[in-house]
């Protein structure tokens, strides 16, 4: 089951990871020319004109855009969180549901295997792919930046791990919501919409004290990239909360799937 799921989901993993690698590669290739001849400083000066709340929302108050690493810490990770989040949420909402949507569930349900094992094997495969994607992108960033600059490798390593926390929660949330429907088509819009909504909430929550509470509604808060950049430490509370939420959502998904009518 695991072997087959790894094979079935390999292509989409390669497409998503490959696309992100190519995007990052292109950015790293063109970045030196963007910041050459003091153009980077000009960009930083231009950014000073923006409201501090906005700069804070994208970590631009902590990292200048005059280096590629500075870009990665601000805009780069914003891009990575979003794309990895969408991939994870779509994976969660599709991996079990597609058996119903493609009507292969009648075959699968007749096999000598429990529903719990079906879900668990698919979760294991998904976690393998999410972790692999984050590891590959992290390794690529590390390699590319070390070839061109001298980044803070400890900080970069910790930052590279942070997409895992929102990704796991978004995956489990997608899986849980998918237990309420039979069609993957419905889940596409819901998954992407949910990830964007959470992302916007996390951005808005950084813009002032009055909206700070919105961060509790967003899985992206769990990345806490700001904390990692300022302290070069990974506070245990974020991985712990992520794992608890992930485990809780998987358990409720299993309970719901156990009772679900499959046709």
């Amino acid at each position: 089951m695991i072997k087959r799921e790894l094979k079935v989901n390999l292509r989409s993993f390669l497409v998503w990871t490959g696309t992100m690698l190519v995007t990052l590669l292109l950015i790293y290739l063109v970045y030196p020319s963007i910041v050459s001849d003091g153009k980077g400083n000009k960009v930083n000066e231009m950014l000073e004109a923006f409201p501090p709340e906005l700069l804070r929302a994208f970590n631009m108050d902590l990292a200048g855009l005059d280096t590629a690493y500075g870009w990665l810490k601000s805009e780069g990770f914003t891009f990575l969180y979003l794309i990895i989040g969408i991939y994870s949420c779509l994976l969660g909402s599709n991996i079990v549901l597609k058996e119903e949507s493609e009507k292969t569930i009648e075959y699968l349900a007749a096999l000598p295997i429990t529903r719990r094992k079906v879900v668990c094997d698919k979760v294991i495969v998904s976690v393998i792919y999410i972790v692999s994607m984050i590891a590959i992108l992290g390794a690529f960033n590390m390699l590319a930046l070390n070839l061109t600059e001298t980044p803070d490798n400890r900080q970069l390593l910790l930052l590279s791990i942070t997409p895992l926390f929102p990704a796991l929660v978004l995956f489990a949330l997608g899986l849980f919501i998918s237990t309420f429907t039979h069609k993957t088509k419905k889940m596409l819009g819901i998954s992407i919409g949910m990830v964007f909504a959470m992302y916007i909430l996390s951005v808005i929550s950084e813009m002032g004290e009055s909206v700070k509470g919105l961060k509790y509604l967003s899985a992206f808060t769990l990345a806490n990239s700001r904390g990692v950049i300022t302290s070069s430490e990974l506070k245990p509370v974020y991985p712990i909360v992520s794992l608890v939420l992930f485990a809780a959502l998987i358990v409720v998904s299993l309970v719901r799937y156990q009772k679900k009518e499959l046709v």
Partner: protein, 304 residues
Amino acid sequence: MSETILEIKNLTKYYGKVKGVENLSLSLNKGEIFGFIGPNGAGKSTTIRSVMNLINKDSGEVLFHGKELTRDDVEAKSRIGYLPSEVFLYDDLTVKGIFDHHESFYRNVKSAAGIREKRQDLVSRLKLDETRPIEDLSLGNLKKVGIVLALMHNPELIIMDEPTSGLDPIMQNVFYEILREERDRGNTVFYSTHILNEVSKVCDRVGIIRNGELIRAGQVDEISDKQLTFVTVSSDEVDALVTELGVKVLSREEDTVRFANHFPDDELIKRLSKFTIRKILIEEATLEEMFMHYYEEGQTDDKT
């Protein structure tokens, strides 16, 4: 007394307010082919999907060897083969790929020993090309793959929902032969169909389902032997004759009527002797007519 393999007790399933099946009870014995017949929408697939735990029962029990068949009873599931009415398989695999995948679930199942040999035998008899991708298969070939998947692990209970749809007549005969062999080996077949002549070809017993309720079950011979005849009578007193007999007229043309008759022949003749009969034709009902009669009789009952 033959051993009961599958027992369905008081099964009820509603889809909202729409009745799927109600209070349906039946049992299947070891080594028989049980035909489960009824028109489209009668509740055949609902019954089968409830047995397979694909849908949740509102009430009732499904017992396999006397034990409740739960959705996670892996041991019981390893001894059941299932062919759904429409076969959907993984499009990215070849026929060989899906068979290998299927085999991998039965490696440690004792009753599935010889799975490879059985697979090869079925593939050869059903003339399947294992190299072909699933996505390229015709409806008939997909059905054949489904048949192999339902049978290759040597299940003692084989549940099949409309198994011959898409099969050509030659393949249908090969399939009937395979089913008879399964029965002779002591395996039990739950054969759902709406094609009436299949029942007389392969089934030992039959259950007739209509509007979610089992209206009759018994040996195929027993049902066929029931004294149902179709009578065509021409008489000037045709209206009085129909009233006297209290039968439902199937067709009428001037003073000639055709009706289904449940009276024994001597009783019928005794009753008809009160009238002047110009012409009479008594025909024995075929099995197909018998089933049609039950359906139509039921539909009339429902309307009243």
